[in-house]
């Protein structure tokens, strides 16, 4: 897990997961788009999303924001990029998304990403490993906050000297 590129990918997963959970958990009153009467480009978008997630119904967060097709397409492009296999495997990214969803008390996100972890081959042991890490570090962080501890472990990992993608070396 050394190298900043891994951490940029993780941050993308954290950010977009939170964004999708906000929609799924908070936009119920808006109601999902009616696919039968949706414009062709929105139906094609939802088909693409369904395919990425192995069929079934497109996740609620996308059906809720698909009332604005162009906006939903941009969000989906970012989400697909964030969750796709890259330096971090999609299976692990779903574990990160599950941890984020549990930590932020997003029941819909936790349920969705738990199902995705299992679909991508994570067993019960692996699920409980992520539950354990999430729970224990939810404890450590609150202990640290309560006692207002100063960060003192920031120097145990070396800085990554590589430039931004495509940029010149320093």
């Amino acid at each position: 897990m050394t190298g900043d590129a891994n951490w940029y990918e993780a941050a993308q997963v954290v950010g977009i997961t939170n964004a999708l959970n906000v929609a799924a958990d908070g936009l119920g009153a808006l109601g999902p788009i009616d696919e039968a009467t949706a414009p062709p480009d929105v139906r094609a978008l939802l088909d693409e999303i369904r395919a990425f997630y192995g069929g079934g119904e497109a996740p609620a967060c996308f059906r809720l924001i698909a009332h604005d097709g162009a906006y939903a397409a941009d969000v989906w492009e970012a989400a697909r990029h964030a969750y796709a296999d890259n330096r971090l495997a999609r299976r692990f990214k779903e574990a990160l998304a599950f941890a984020v969803s549990v930590t932020t008390r997003s029941a819909s996100g936790a349920s969705f990403h738990l199902a995705e972890m299992r679909r991508l081959g994570v067993g019960q042991r692996g699920v409980m490993e992520i539950v354990g890490v999430t729970q224990m570090f939810s404890s450590y962080t609150k202990i640290a906050d309560t006692l207002q501890l100063d960060a003192d472990m920031g120097d145990i990992a070396p800085a990554d000297p590589t430039p931004a993608p495509g940029g010149p070396a320093r």
């Binding site: 897990m1 930590t103 994570v122 207002q148």
Partner: protein, 84 residues
């Protein structure tokens, strides 16, 4: 500034010194002073002991690697807005 006065390692009993050694081995880093969280957890072994064991069980390699789990831990800490 911490709510409590964090004791230096040499203010702890011998049993805690062993925990500090384990902490050094766990992080594979030669700290000048054990991390603040290690010293907090060593304050009350009745809590810190089982809490630390649960953490090590969760963080050990399994379906996910130790490195992957460290990233999950960092993400959970970040989402909790914890700077420590």
């Amino acid at each position: 500034m911490p709510t409590v006065r964090l004791r230096h390692a040499d203010e702890y009993p011998a049993a805690a010194q062993k925990l500090f050694e384990l902490s050094r081995a766990w992080f594979n880093h030669d700290f000048a002073e054990p991390p603040a969280m290690s010293r907090v957890m060593a304050w009350d072994p009745g809590f810190g002991g089982p809490h630390g064991r649960a953490m090590k069980r969760a963080m050990g390699p399994g379906e996910f690697s130790r490195g992957e789990k460290e990233m999950v831990a960092a993400v959970v800490s970040g989402v909790n807005a914890c700077e420590y």
